[in-house]
């Protein structure tokens, strides 16, 4: 699987290269700014991309803007955004672009190699990988309807929103697939969502719900 990485900090980009090479990814290019990223995506047509939020020249949110731009130019391009901090606003912006996998993770998560690689593969396959902190922000904000869920249902909701499938959720919570299925049914019923299939659309439904819950109708 071929990867393009946009990361200006050499320590981190070489670390990522080392780690990804070891688990069988091919690094097509490592670039250090937004323009370079867009060019590399055009040249290499990677299977998945990894973008740091802060890039030169201004070290503000170039990475997010480059990622959004790349997804507009190449609909369906899988993008995993890494950052030293997470901001629900950025997650909402990334999710607003349609088609293809999207991920948004804290850089800290890279050190959990298995989970990170799993997230990267999920994004490459068109899935979603949202940082637990983003989900925590969203869940906290969504308020009342979420409060109606049981603690276990909230755990399932969080994992589902992060982009995990039923099997992984069952494994992480040490419960059966059947129990996960039942919890998900209850969650969708309590939140008033239409039951969707177990793929990316389900995640989007949950994230969209969390993202819009408690906001003004006009927004």
């Amino acid at each position: 699987m071929r990867v393009v990485i946009a990361e200006d900090n050499v320590l981190l980009s070489t670390g990522l290269e080392l780690l990804l090479n070891r688990v069988g990814f091919e690094i097509a290019a490592i670039v250090d700014d937004g323009a370079g990223f867009l060019a590399a995506v055009r040249d290499h047509r990677p299977d998945v991309t990894i973008v740091d939020v802060r890039l030169p020249p201004s070290f503000r949110d170039e990475g997010i803007r480059a990622a959004l731009q790349a997804r507009r130019e190449h609909p369906g391009l899988p993008v995993l955004v890494l950052s030293q901090y997470v901001e629900q606003q950025y997650a909402a912006e990334l999710l607003s672009t349609t088609g293809g996998g999207v991920g948004y993770l804290l850089k800290d998560r890279v050190s959990r190699v298995d989970e990170f690689v799993d997230a990267l593969r999920r994004v490459a396959a068109g899935g979603t990988a949202m940082d637990p902190e983003v989900i925590a922000q969203l869940v906290q904000r969504a308020g009342d309807p979420i409060a109606a869920l049981t603690p276990r249902e909230r755990e399932v909701l969080a994992l589902m929103a992060q982009g995990h499938d039923n099997g992984t959720i069952a494994g992480q919570l040490v419960i059966t697939d059947n129990a996960v299925h039942k919890h998900i049914g209850n969650i969708f019923a309590k939140l008033g969502l239409a039951v969707s299939d177990s793929g990316h659309r389900r995640v989007l439904a949950v994230l969209t719900y969390l993202n819009t819950a408690g906001q003004f109708d006009g927004r």
Binding site: R54, R60, E87, Q88, Q89, G143, G214, F216
Partner: protein, 386 residues
Amino acid sequence: MRRSGGYLLVSLASGIATVLALPLLCVPRLARLWADWHHDRATRLLGTPMASRPAPRAAGRRAWAGPSTGRDLLWLPVNAITGVAFGLTALLCVGNLLPAAVATALWWAFEPEDRPRPFVDVPVTGWATALTLGPLQIILLTTLAYLCFPMMARVHARICLAVLSHSTAEQLADRVAVLTRTRADVLDAHGAELRRIERDLHDGTQARLVAIAMRLAVARQVLSDNPRNEQFLAELLRDAHEGTEEAMTELRGVIRTVYPPILADRGLVGALTAVTARCGVPTRLNIGDIERVPAAVEAVVYFAVAEALTNVTRHSRATTASVRVSRAADRLSVVVTDNGTGGADDRLGTGLAGIRGRVLALDGTVEIDSPAGGPTTITMELLCGS
């Protein structure tokens, strides 16, 4: 002309009132209110800025002390004399317009000895004198009023301000005192902030790194042991790994309190958009054209709004909130309101005290209006320099 005329007539009334209520007005607090009222109307008439009056509350507490009470009392006789003198002139001027009009039109209706006598004592003898003297008096009085009323009103207002305002030297001394105090506060707050960051890094991140380094060092030794304790090695590496994750989480927390990354990335507007979108209570953000704002002010506004909205979510039981940011000249004003149950108090939580501390440290002001039953409004004003 009408405005100055009104001013002069009110001055007359207040001059007479001063004489009548003299014993009452010698009470310092009433003298202060009386003086304040005159000072305000004089300032409004002259259109000069209102800043030159010494703070009434500070002086009110030490009733007889300070030079301002002396000024207030001095104003009583000055007001009585100038108010009556200027006001009476104006009254006579206006008051003689009516007799002149009557003299012109209705002179014939009076008995000869009762006929109006314009120009103090010139008798009206027929239409000829009536039609010349009457209009002439009206024209003269009106011209006089137009020319002299504004001038007289301004002179009265200036005398009022001269008596009641601080001298330039006193104003400067006041300002220096305020600046000295706020500068000391700023330095204190700044120092406290540096100490907090130092403590967070020292006790948190640095200690964790030391612990990680120790585990890794032990792990290297264990590697060369014979036989090697694999389980112990795995434990050491796991602890070191988890330690780095905790260190990163802590460091992220410290960075957030030093300068929020979203502020660096998106500026104040973007950061406030994010913080209001994140709020548990639906929050409307209304932000005008605020131009460039110093980084320190941006950070304080961000923290204050974030803290205020946290309070809204946790304590207010509000269903909506709003954040309004606007700028007039070098003054940035931030208003956070909610429709909750009110009763917010500085002394009950550290949140509001924290907001106050941060804003005061930049020489700003904070006003918290939160009656029991709500709603709550927090108003902050900060200077953006120039």
